[in-house]
C-alpha cells in the first residue's frame, strides 16, 4: 500500500511492535533486579507469612514468561482480580493493578496523563517561540554584538538547572511580586483560565531549558543554508537580507527543528520529573519515579508504555511535517 494510508498503517504496526518490545524489556529488567518485591510491597513491618501471602497474591512465584503472558491477556481481553474479599474487573486494555494501592493502572494513567500533556503542550509552544525566535535573531545579527549577547543568554539557559530557574521564578513572581498564585494544578476542563495561569511558570521554566537547544540548532542550520548556492542567487538578484534570512534561510531550519521537537516532546511527557516535582504537578514522570522506587511493576510498565506511545506518535507526526515542509520527502 502506498500514500498516506499506507504510511499510517506501517507506522501503526511499527508502533505496536516497538511497544511490545519495550514491555518485554521492562519485565526482564524487573525480573533480574535484586530485592524482594513482596517484602517491599508489604512493608517493612510485615511478618514472613504476610510476605508469602502477598507474593502468592501477586503471582510473584510464577515464571517470567507466564507473568508476561498474563499481562498480555489483560491487555487484550481484560482481567478479573481478587483483592482479598472483593473481585474487581479490569477491562481491556488492562495494565494490571498497582501492587501498592490496588488501583487499576489504566485509571492511574488517565488521571496523570492530562497533567503531563498540559505541561508539555504549553511548554512546547513557548520553547519553539523562544528558541526559534532567538535562533533567527542570532543568525540575522551574526557576528555582531547583539548575537553574542543572545548566544550567552541561551547558553546560560541550558547551563542552569530547572529547579534553580523554577525556584527563582516562583520566589520572584509569586513570592516577591505577587503577580501569580503559587502554582497548583487545575484541570483544563474545570477552569481553562486558571489552568493557564497556574501552568504559566512551569511552562516557562521547562521552555527556558529546552529553548537554548532550539536556538543553537536554528542558528546553525540557518547559517548552513546561508552558505548555500541558492542564497547567493537571491543576493545576486538584489533580494534584501531580511527576506533572505526570514524566508529562504529559515526554511532550511525547519527539518532539524521538527526532528528535535519530536524528540523533546516525546521525552518530556515522562521526563519532566524535576519540573513536575518542583511545581507539585502530579504527572506521569513523578508517578513513574515513585513506582520504580517501590518496585510497582504494573505501574512502571503502564507508564513506560504511555511514554513510549507518545515518543512513537511524536516521531510519526514529525515525519508527516517533514513531507509537508519539504516536497522532496516521500513518506515510507
Amino acid at each position: 500500500m502506498s500514500g498516506f494510508p499506507g504510511f499510517v498503517l506501517r507506522r501503526a504496526v511499527g508502533a505496536v511492535v516497538t511497544l511490545l518490545a519495550i514491555s518485554v524489556i521492562v519485565y526482564v529488567v524487573f525480573y533480574v533486579t535484586p530485592g524482594n518485591v513482596a517484602q517491599i510491597t508489604c512493608g517493612p513491618r510485615c511478618s514472613p507469612e504476610q510476605v508469602d501471602q502477598v507474593a502468592r497474591q501477586l503471582n510473584l512465584d510464577d515464571p517470567l514468561f507466564l507473568r508476561y503472558w498474563h499481562f498480555l491477556q489483560g491487555l487484550v481481553a481484560g482481567q478479573d482480580y481478587s483483592t482479598g474479599t472483593s473481585v474487581q474487573h479490569c477491562s481491556a486494555p488492562c495494565f494490571g493493578l498497582s501492587y501498592q494501592s490496588d488501583q487499576q493502572v489504566t485509571q492511574l494513567i488517565w488521571t496523570k496523563l492530562p497533567v503531563s500533556l498540559s505541561l508539555v503542550s504549553g511548554a512546547m509552544v513557548l520553547w519553539l517561540l523562544l528558541g526559534v525566535g532567538t535562533g533567527v535573531l542570532s543568525a540575522w545579527r551574526r557576528g555582531r554584538f547583539s548575537e553574542r549577547v543572545l548566544t550567552g543568554v541561551t547558553l546560560a539557559g541550558t547551563a542552569t538547572p530547572v529547579f534553580v530557574i523554577g525556584l527563582v521564578l516562583m520566589i520572584v513572581v509569586c513570592g516577591e511580586l505577587r503577580l501569580l498564585p503559587f502554582p497548583q494544578y487545575v484541570a483544563l476542563t474545570d477552569d481553562p483560565e486558571q489552568w493557564a495561569w497556574n501552568l504559566l511558570l512551569p511552562w516557562l521554566s521547562l521552555a527556558l531549558i529546552e529553548a537554548a537547544a532550539f536556538a543553537r540548532l536554528t542558528r546553525a542550520s540557518m547559517l548552513e543554508t546561508l552558505a548555500e548556492d541558492h542564497i547567493r542567487t537571491f543576493r545576486a538578484y538584489g533580494v534584501g537580507e531580511r527576506s533572505i534570512v526570514g524566508r529562504h534561510a529559515l526554511r532550511g531550519a525547519f527539518a532539524p527543528v521538527i526532528a528535535l521537537n519530536a524528540n523533546n516532546v516525546g521525552s518530556a511527557i515522562g521526563g519532566a520529573v524535576l519540573t513536575e516535582t518542583l511545581f507539585g504537578l502530579p504527572g506521569i514522570g513523578q508517578e513513574l519515579v515513585h513506582a520504580v522506587n517501590v518496585v510497582d511493576l504494573p505501574v512502571v510498565v503502564g507508564m513506560v508504555l504511555v511514554i513510549g506511545f507518545f515518543v512513537v506518535l511524536a516521531n510519526a507526526v514529525a515525519d508527516v511535517l517533514y513531507a509537508v515542509a519539504d516536497r522532496r520527502v516521500v513518506l515510507t
Partner: protein, 545 residues
C-alpha cells in the same frame, strides 16, 4: 559610456591574488567571453561586476562601472537596484542555484517584485511569461513546480527566465552549461543566442570551454592567473592566436574533426600509434553478451542497461559515449565486475568472469572522491598489491615507487596525501593504482571530465603511452565526443541503456547512421565561429525534422 567598464581590477582573498590588474569594456548589446582554466580568476571577475565580494573579506581594488553604477562606491541600496535590475547573473549549477523549498514561479516573482512595483498577482503573471519565453512548455502549470521536479536543462532555463524577469541590460552567465549534457547545452546556448537577437542585451559569458565561447560571443578575453593573456574579436583570437598560452589552450582542446597533420597536440601521437596497431591481428580479450542491469524492484524498477553486447580486442581502445543516464557508467562497472549483471555475461579471455578480476581494472571519474583522503597515495596504490597477497614491505614500496614514476609522478610521493596533489596528479595516482594489479584491460569511467583541458590532454596522452607500452586494452567511457574521438579505435554510442551505433571512429563520426548520433554530433560546440553558426543551423533543421 560603455555598459561595463572595468579598470585595473584586482581581487585578493587573503594572501591569494585572484584577479590582478584586469581591464576591459563591454558595449551595450555586445557579447564578451572570459575564458580560462580553473583558478584563472574568471568567476571572481563576474562576481565583482555585481559587487558580490562586499562583506566577504575579499579586498577589491581598481574600478568597476556597470550600467552607470560605480560598484565599488555604491551604497547597499544602489547595489540592490543594480543586481537583477540592470545586470542579472545566471549561475553554473542549476540544481543548487534555486531554493529547493519554493515553487519556481514564486522565486522568479519574488525577484521581480524586488525591482518592479507590482502586485503579487502581476509578479506571478510575469514569472509565467518569462518561463514561457525561455521555452518551458505549459509554463503556467510548471511555474508551480519545485526545482527538483525540473530536469537540469529546465532548471537552467528557469534561471535564465529569472534573469530576464526585470529586462536587464547585461546578462552575466557564469559557466551556464557546464553541468549540462551536450544536447541540452546546445539548446541553452541557442536560447541565449535567440534572446540576444531579440532583446539587445549585453552578455558576459564566463567559461572554461573555448567551444562554448566560440558559439556565443563577439569578443574573447583569455585569462590566466588573474591576468588578461589575450583579448580580441572571437574569430581572431581563436583563429590566429598571438600568445603562446592561447595557442597551448587551443591545441589542448579535443576536436571533433579529424586532427590536422603536424599539429603539436600530445594526444595525436596516440592516435597514429593506434592506427598502426590496427593492422596487427587481435583476439577478443573482453566479451559482453546480452548484458542487462536493473535497479530497484516492483513499480520503481529501472533498467539502466538493456541487451548490450560488445567485444574488446587486445590492445585496442573502445570508446563508449552517451549523455547522463544513458547507462554508460553502469555498463563500465559491469565490465569490471563491480556490478553483477541482471542478465547476460562478461567473458574475460573466453572464460566467464564473475566478481572482480585483477586483470580488469578501473579508473574512476572523480579523482578527489575515489582516493581515501586519510591515507597516503602510496598506501592507496599498494592496496591491490596487498590484496594479491604480497607481504614483503620492501617489494611493495619499490613497486609503488616504480608505478608512481611510470605515471609521471615521483617515487618519493609515497607518503603524501591526496589533498597535496592537483586534480591531474590525483588522476595519475588513480591510474597507478589501476596498474598495480598488472591488468590487461582498464575501464576508464570519465577519466578526464573533471580536469582542465590542458591537464586533460596530458592524462589522455599518458593513457595512450601506457597502452602502447603495456599492450593494454582500454574501455574509455565519456560524455565528451571529441575526447572519445581522439583516443578511440572503435566507438559505441549509448542511449537509454542501449548501444544505438557502434563502429570504427572514423565511420561513426564521419558518416553517422543513427539519428541520435547525428543529433549528438551537431550539438558539440565548434571552435570556429563560422562552423558554430553552421552547426546552429543544422540543429535547427534537425529540430524541425
Amino acid at each position: 559610456m560603455s555598459l561595463v567598464e572595468v579598470t585595473g581590477l584586482s581581487v585578493d582573498f587573503g594572501e591569494l591574488r585572484a584577479v590582478d590588474g584586469l581591464s576591459f569594456r563591454l558595449e551595450e548589446g555586445a557579447a564578451l567571453a572570459l575564458v580560462g582554466e580553473s583558478g584563472s580568476g574568471k568567476s571572481t571577475v563576474a562576481s565583482a561586476l555585481l559587487g558580490l565580494h562586499h562583506g566577504t573579506g575579499a579586498r577589491v581594488g581598481g574600478s568597476v562601472r556597470v550600467a552607470g553604477t560605480d560598484v565599488q562606491r555604491a551604497s547597499d541600496e544602489e547595489l540592490r537596484r543594480l543586481r537583477g535590475g540592470q545586470a542579472a547573473m545566471v549561475f553554473q549549477d542549476p540544481l543548487s542555484s534555486l531554493d529547493p523549498y519554493y515553487a519556481i514561479g514564486d522565486q522568479i516573482a519574488e525577484v521581480y517584485r524586488v525591482h518592479a512595483r507590482a502586485s503579487r498577482r502581476a509578479a506571478r503573471a510575469r514569472a509565467v511569461e518569462v518561463l514561457d519565453r525561455v521555452g518551458i512548455a505549459d509554463a503556467a502549470r510548471r511555474s508551480r513546480s519545485r526545482p527538483h521536479e525540473f530536469s537540469g536543462g529546465m532548471r537552467q532555463r528557469a534561471l535564465i527566465a529569472m534573469a530576464l524577469a526585470c529586462e536587464p541590460r547585461l546578462l552575466i552567465a557564469d559557466e551556464p552549461t557546464t553541468a549540462l549534457d551536450v544536447t541540452v547545452q546546445a539548446q541553452v546556448l541557442d536560447l541565449l543566442h535567440t534572446l540576444r537577437e531579440e532583446t539587445s542585451m549585453g552578455l558576459l559569458l564566463v567559461t572554461h570551454d573555448v567551444g562554448v565561447a566560440a558559439e556565443s560571443v563577439d569578443e574573447v578575453l583569455v585569462m590566466r592567473h588573474g591576468r588578461a593573456v589575450e583579448h580580441g574579436p572571437v574569430s581572431r583570437v581563436l583563429g590566429a592566436p598571438v600568445q603562446p598560452y592561447t595557442r597551448e589552450l587551443l591545441a589542448a582542446v579535443p576536436r571533433l574533426d579529424a586532427p590536422a597533420a603536424g599539429s603539436t597536440a600530445p594526444q595525436e601521437a596516440v592516435l597514429e600509434e593506434a592506427v598502426l596497431e590496427e593492422a596487427a591481428p587481435k583476439g577478443a580479450v573482453l566479451e559482453a553478451t546480452g548484458l542487462r542491469r536493473e535497479f530497484g524492484r516492483g513499480k520503481r524498477a529501472f533498467t539502466a542497461v538493456r541487451d548490450v553486447s560488445l567485444t574488446l580486442h587486445r590492445g585496442e581502445t573502445l570508446g563508449i559515449v552517451g549523455e547522463s543516464g544513458s547507462g554508460k557508467t553502469t555498463l563500465g562497472r559491469m565490465l569490471v565486475g563491480l556490478l553483477e549483471p541482471t542478465a547476460g555475461e562478461v567473458r574475460y579471455d573466453g572464460r566467464p568472469h564473475t566478481g572482480v578480476n585483477p586483470a580488469v581494472q578501473m579508473v574512476f571519474q572523480d579523482p578527489v572522491s575515489s582516493l581515501n583522503p586519510r591515507r597516503s597515495v602510496g598506501e592507496s596504490i599498494a592496496d591491490p598489491l596487498r590484496a594479491r597477497g604480497e607481504r614483503d614491505e620492501g617489494r611493495i614500496q619499490a613497486r609503488v615507487a616504480e608505478l608512481l614514476e611510470r605515471v609521471g609522478l615521483e617515487g618519493a610521493h609515497y607518503d603524501r596525501y591526496p589533498h597535496e596533489f592537483s586534480g591531474g596528479q590525483r588522476q595519475r595516482v588513480g591510474i597507478a593504482r589501476a596498474l598495480a594489479a598488472d591488468p590487461r584491460v582498464i575501464v576508464c569511467d570519465e577519466p578526464v571530465s573533471a580536469l582542465d583541458v590542458t591537464t586533460q590532454a596530458h592524462v589522455v596522452a599518458l593513457l595512450g603511452e601506457l597502452q602502447r607500452e603495456l599492450g593494454l586494452a582500454l574501455v574509455f567511457v565519456a560524455h565528451d565526443l571529441a575526447v572519445v574521438r581522439q583516443v578511440s579505435d572503435r566507438v559505441a554510442v549509448m542511449r537509454q541503456g542501449r548501444i544505438v551505433e557502434e563502429g570504427p571512429v572514423d565511420e561513426v563520426y564521419g558518416t553517422p547512421q543513427d539519428p541520435y548520433t547525428r543529433q549528438l554530433l551537431a550539438a558539440v560546440p565548434a571552435l570556429d565561429p563560422e562552423a558554430a553558426a553552421l552547426r546552429r543551423a543544422e540543429r535547427r533543421e534537425l529540430a524541425a525534422a
